[in-house]
């Protein structure tokens, strides 16, 4: 057995043995290699033994194939029906996109990101968001009409809703104050005792109307359906596959 011993040139030559045998050395390295081999008996023996080993490897007999590994046609059809090809290739990215959108919506909803600075829920969630707006006693008692809106409402309500164009009505006797229904999105509340109070302002009717909650539920349902489809498809593909 030969060990990599000897001088520095010997170590270099022994690192190049394989490439020399395969005739893939550069002309410079080849020249150095051949000069060294002529004068170094150890490296020369090393080269010959390695060359014989490679020649033996070239003679390793090839084993016959015991059977065909061809893929069967029915298997091919089954694979094509459930795996990557056209049918369900879109499933995974579509599910991912919708799931991400749902997460963003839920995060925005819980953090009130869809509520604007005026306290209006632009996301349109009907029942969940109510903001109490402080009002003065005078604004609550002063009744106004708004062009285009049926009935009367208090000045406080009109301001809370955001109406800027309204007509102030003359004061009326105490018994007749604001008994008519007002088709505006506010709920009045006397939280401040006599005089000053609050207008409880509900978001959706005052804000921009797109149904956040319904959108969330819809997206959630779509994600569940897509995930179910994916699981089904994967089970089909994982079935035992055979060859001829």
């Amino acid at each position: 057995m030969f060990r990599v011993k000897g001088s520095r040139p010997c170590r270099k030559v022994r690192g190049l043995l394989s490439e020399y045998i395969d005739n893939s050395l550069s002309s410079e390295d080849k020249s150095f290699f051949e000069q060294h081999i002529q004068t170094c008996d150890g490296c020369s023996k090393e080269l010959e033994s390695l060359r014989m080993t490679v020649q033996l490897l070239h003679r390793v007999p090839e084993a016959p194939v015991p059977r065909s590994f061809a893929v069967t046609a029915p298997e091919r059809r089954r694979e094509r029906a459930f795996a990557p090809p056209a049918g369900l290739r879109w499933l995974r990215p579509a599910t991912a996109i919708i799931a991400v959108a749902l997460v963003v919506l839920l995060a925005g909803d819980f953090s009130h990101a869809f509520v604007n600075n005026a306290g209006v829920n632009t996301g349109g969630s009907n029942a969940t968001y109510v903001q109490l707006v402080p009002t003065s006693a005078a604004e609550q008692q002063t009744m106004v009409t708004v062009p285009g809106v049926m009935g009367q409402m208090s000045l406080a309500t009109a301001k809370a809703v955001g109406y800027t164009n309204y007509n102030v009505l003359p004061p009326s006797p105490p018994s007749e104050v604001a008994t008519q229904p007002v088709p505006v999105p506010s709920v009045r509340g006397d939280l401040g005792g006599a005089g000053a109070g609050f207008v409880a302002q509900q978001g959706s009717e005052a804000g921009v109307g797109w149904p956040l909650r319904q959108t969330e539920i819809g997206l959630g349902a779509v994600v569940v359906v897509l995930l179910t489809l994916m699981v089904f498809a994967r089970r089909q593909v994982k079935g035992k596959v055979t060859v001829k």
Binding site: M1, F2, G15, L17, S18, E19, D22, S24, E48, S49, L50, M52, T53, V54, L56, L57, H58, R59, V60, P61, E62, A63, P64, V65, P66, R67, S68, F69, A70, V71, T72, A73, R76, E79, R80, A83, P84, P85, V241, V243
Partner: protein
């Protein structure tokens, strides 16, 4: 029909075209698996896995050497099997003898003696290969048994040319040392120190 045409048709779902590719490469794949795993049954499994994986992934083949692509899948399949079960690494002489028993005679002119010698050599080299580390074994088989170029070996092993050369040199040297240690068992015709 040339190989590119067969690949193109396979991508379009032509199973017969794909099986022509299988027919063309199954011998190469099976022999790589047999040398890597040292066990006929495991080699069959690995070959089957290779062609099924190739068939599933044919749409992702983006050109280049199809042979290198298939052999890379085969090498990965062998690696998985070796990782799962180390028992394939050490192969008994009896097993190897059994595997080489049915070697076909190279041609009609080969004498029974030469045939026996060749079988003995195959058995001996198989055992030597089974003693190499997996990465060196793969490179030696691809280069010296299957005759791939350095560039093709680099593609199959997903490594650089420098790494291929280094592994090949170390693998050959190690195999040579194995043969020298057991030289008295090697047929005299094939002994390294004559």
């Amino acid at each position: 029909m040339d190989e590119l045409e067969l690949i193109s048709r396979s991508k379009d779902g032509d199973v017969d075209a794909f099986n022509l590719l299988v027919e063309q490469y199954q011998r190469l794949v099976y022999n790589l698996a047999l040398r890597m795993l040292g066990n006929a049954e495991a080699a069959e499994d690995a070959s089957q896995d290779t062609f099924l994986s190739a068939y599933k992934a044919i749409g992702k083949f983006r050109g280049g050497s199809f042979k290198a692509w298939v052999l890379r899948i085969a090498a990965n399949s062998c690696h998985d099997k070796l990782r799962v079960s180390r028992r394939y690494r050490i192969v008994s002489l009896d097993t190897l003898l059994l595997e080489t028993d049915d070697l076909p005679q190279a041609n009609n002119t080969e004498s029974p003696e030469d045939y026996a010698l060749r079988r003995e050599l195959g058995r001996f080299l198989n055992e030597g290969l089974s003693h190499l580390p997996e990465d060196q074994r793969l490179v030696v088989i691809l280069s010296d048994v299957q005759g791939l170029s350095y560039e093709e070996v680099a593609q199959v092993t997903a490594s650089s040319l420098g790494t291929v050369k280094s592994r090949l040199n170390r693998g050959r040297t190690r195999l040579r040392d194995f043969l020298l240690q057991r030289e008295e068992l090697l047929p005299s015709k094939f002994r390294l120190n004559k």
